[in-house]
């Protein structure tokens, strides 16, 4: 009798197990998808270039993420309202995704240093220290109030 009881218990356990599997079967694909997404989101970040965050990536185009979505680079530590496991595809227009960096070198000082136009002309100073060009006893004085811009 004892052996029959064990057999019955085993049969009951097997029946419970099969019933559980049957209940889970419709959701099996969801479980598998969740596992794959968790693995994808948890992967280590790709190595970044040594330059700062403002430097464009090689080619100037953001690279696709592991989920296949093209995302714009976000500043480190930026808060994200999207829960883990619920990726959001953000389409980025090509024009916005490609930064245009224009480097303009400083212009050379085109104008030459002072020429000879003042050579041989007397220079004096006013009582309050401003510079005068021309004979101190010249009959007419032109005072030029100006700046160098």
């Amino acid at each position: 009798m004892r052996g029959d009881g064990n057999l019955r218990n085993l049969q009951q356990l097997t029946a419970h197990y099969n019933a559980g599997i049957a209940r889970l079967k419709p959701h099996a694909h969801l479980l598998l998808l969740s596992l794959l997404l968790a693995a994808a989101c948890g992967s280590p970040p790709e190595p970044q270039a040594a330059s700062g965050p403002s430097s464009p990536t090689a080619g100037g185009t953001p690279r696709p993420s592991a989920t296949g979505a093209v995302t714009a680079a976000a500043p480190t530590g930026a808060p994200t309202g999207v829960p883990t496991g619920a990726p959001t595809l953000i389409p980025v227009p090509a024009a916005a995704a490609t930064p245009i960096v224009v480097s303009v070198p400083p212009p050379p000082d085109a104008a030459p240093a002072a020429g000879p136009q003042y050579k041989g002309i007397p220079v004096s100073r006013t009582q309050d220290g401003f510079y005068a060009l021309g004979a101190p006893e010249a009959p007419v004085t032109i005072t030029d109030y100006s700046d160098f811009l």
Binding site: P107, Y118, S124, V140, T141, I142, S146, F148, L149
Partner: protein, 144 residues
């Protein structure tokens, strides 16, 4: 004055008929005061007018230069003037040895109505704004 100054110099100043005085008007912030200081510092070594000419010729570069970069720029330009001692010129700029006098003169001028530029005073007459050689000549001839 920038455009007609060489003509005024050749026609009136060099022959001894006119004395030309330049006085600073400080209306454009750091760039104005720094360039005025550079001219005064060069003047301490007898090269005010040479620096004056150089600053006018390169004013577009001055306008494009950030205020923080003005002193190095002006130091480089000072080094281009033959006979100017760079060490004295640089210390004059960095220590702002002429700043106070320039600002005091500007304040005194403002009390007399000099609040814009350019303004020309010729024989007691004030001409506001840019003037042609003909206009300046007419004012000079009216005095004589």
């Amino acid at each position: 004055m920038l455009t007609v100054e060489p003509q005024v110099i050749e026609k009136y100043v060099r022959p001894g008929r006119v004395k030309l005085v330049f006085r600073d008007v400080l209306n454009h912030g750091e760039r104005t005061i720094r360039t005025s200081e550079a001219a005064q510092c060069a003047g301490q070594q007898g090269q005010f007018w040479q620096m004056h000419e150089l600053l006018f010729a390169r004013q577009e570069t001055t306008e494009r230069t950030a205020p923080a970069d003005l002193v190095p720029l002006l130091q480089r330009w000072g080094a281009e003037l033959p006979g100017l001692d760079p060490a004295s010129f640089n210390s004059c700029l960095v220590e702002r040895k002429t700043q106070q006098a320039i600002q005091a003169a500007d304040a005194a001028q403002r009390r007399q109505g000099i609040t814009s530029q350019p303004i020309f005073e010729i024989g007691g007459r004030r001409l506001l704004g840019l003037q042609s050689l003909a206009q300046i000549s007419a004012a000079v001839d009216a005095v004589r």
